[in-house]
């Protein structure tokens, strides 16, 4: 090694790199199932949890808050942050273009308990099954399928005061995640942001699902297990 190379190596310890975050203590990954490797691209899904009324949306501020903890569930990443995004009110859900379920890019899972949805919408590869109307949502099932394996991990941003629980879901590769407490907001890729209520996120084969609006964990799990 030449003198210059030695100098460069010695310089390494003097470089002002920021302190690396403790990722290992804050990252929580699900257990990969046998089919997961063949799954496709993860669609970005961003959710924020905050103390704001349902029906509002949010704008992510330029200055980001610190990430305190991260969970990965299927296509969704849930981030706990010390500061929630700023929000602005909206009055109507914008879920994408209405479609016939038969035109969905993958075979949709439908609930035996809920029956046919009142509307099916598509925004990119994210499909929303709406029960109620865009103005008065009763229940919303979001289905996200993978198409290749360069996942775009989705995001949820949650405050530490929010209750999060891992729950077993029959038919799900790993545990589902139940997020309860304060209303939270969801943002689909390329779409506007909005707030949401209690949410269950789980996986079913190659599809990541998100159920919003169930009144209790028991009801959410029953609906989740009725999807097939």
């Amino acid at each position: 090694m030449t003198g210059l190379e030695s100098e460069l190596r010695n310089l390494a310890s003097a470089i002002d790199f920021p302190e690396p975050p403790d990722i290992a203590s804050n990252i929580h990954v699900g257990v990969p199932g046998p089919r997961q490797a063949a799954w496709g691209r993860r669609i970005a899904l961003a959710v924020a949890i905050g103390g704001i009324a349902i029906g509002a949306g949010f704008a992510v501020p330029q200055a980001r808050s610190a990430i305190l903890r991260i969970f990965g569930v299927g296509a969704v990443k849930i981030e706990f942050v010390d500061r929630l995004p700023e929000t602005q009110p909206v009055t109507r859900l914008r879920l994408g273009a209405p479609i016939d379920p038969a035109d969905a890019p993958f075979l949709l899972l439908q609930s035996r308990l809920l029956g046919d949805p009142d509307g099916v919408f598509r925004r990119g590869d994210v499909i929303s099954l709406l029960y109620g109307t865009p103005e008065r949502v009763r229940l919303l099932v979001t289905e996200i399928a993978d198409s290749d394996f360069t996942p775009e991990v989705g995001k949820k941003l949650a405050s530490m005061g929010t209750h999060v629980e891992f729950v077993p879901i029959r038919g799900s590769v790993g545990p589902g995640v139940w997020i309860e407490g304060r209303p939270h907001a969801v943002r689909l890729p390329g779409g506007p942001a909005r707030l949401a209520t209690n949410t269950l996120i789980w996986t079913h084969g190659p599809i990541t699902l998100r159920l919003e609006g169930a009144e209790s964990l028991q009801e959410a799990v029953a609906i989740a297990e009725s999807l097939g």
Binding site: T2, G3, L4, E5, E7, L8, R9, L11, A12, S13, A14, I15, D16, F17, P18, P20, P21, D22, I23, A24, N26, I27, V29, V31, P32, Q36, A37, W39, R42, R64, I67, I70, G72, K77, F149, T150, P151, V153
Partner: protein, 183 residues
Amino acid sequence: MGRPLDDGELVTRAQQGDVAAYEELVRMHQATAFRTAYLLAGSTADAEEAAHDAFLKAFHALRRFRRGTPFRPWLLAIVANEARNRRRSAGRRHALALRAAREIRPGDAAPSPEAAVLSRERQDLVLAAVNRLSEEHRLVVACRYFLDLSEAETASVLGIRTGTVKSRLSRALEHLREEVPRA
């Protein structure tokens, strides 16, 4: 207490669903992953997010990982991709200028005041010359000497062949020798 598991053993376990084994892999590589992301993304916040996302993606992609091949170059390729995407999204065109830390780090031997000044001046001189290199030369120098990556890892991070790493490094060192007088 048994011997610590190496990357290959941890990867095998993680592929079988051992989340603790994967967390150990994260622990072992998080500092290098973060610094690599910082170098490429150009901001601490983006580097943090890129490293987090890369570890999540790598976990989901583990079953595609070929056993018997080294884990770190594969992981760092994912990290680099995440970091570049963030830099692109942020519209950040200019490369990060590396700086020398001024505070004494724990464990550093305290030099005499004269030696410290001389040493700092020399560091500043070399670092300024590195920062004046073209981005492709600066990155190859930073990967090899500041992050202590192997040629194969540098190639993965920069998305080039190991032969190109060697030739770029050689040219970068030539430039530096022209700019920096011998110590």
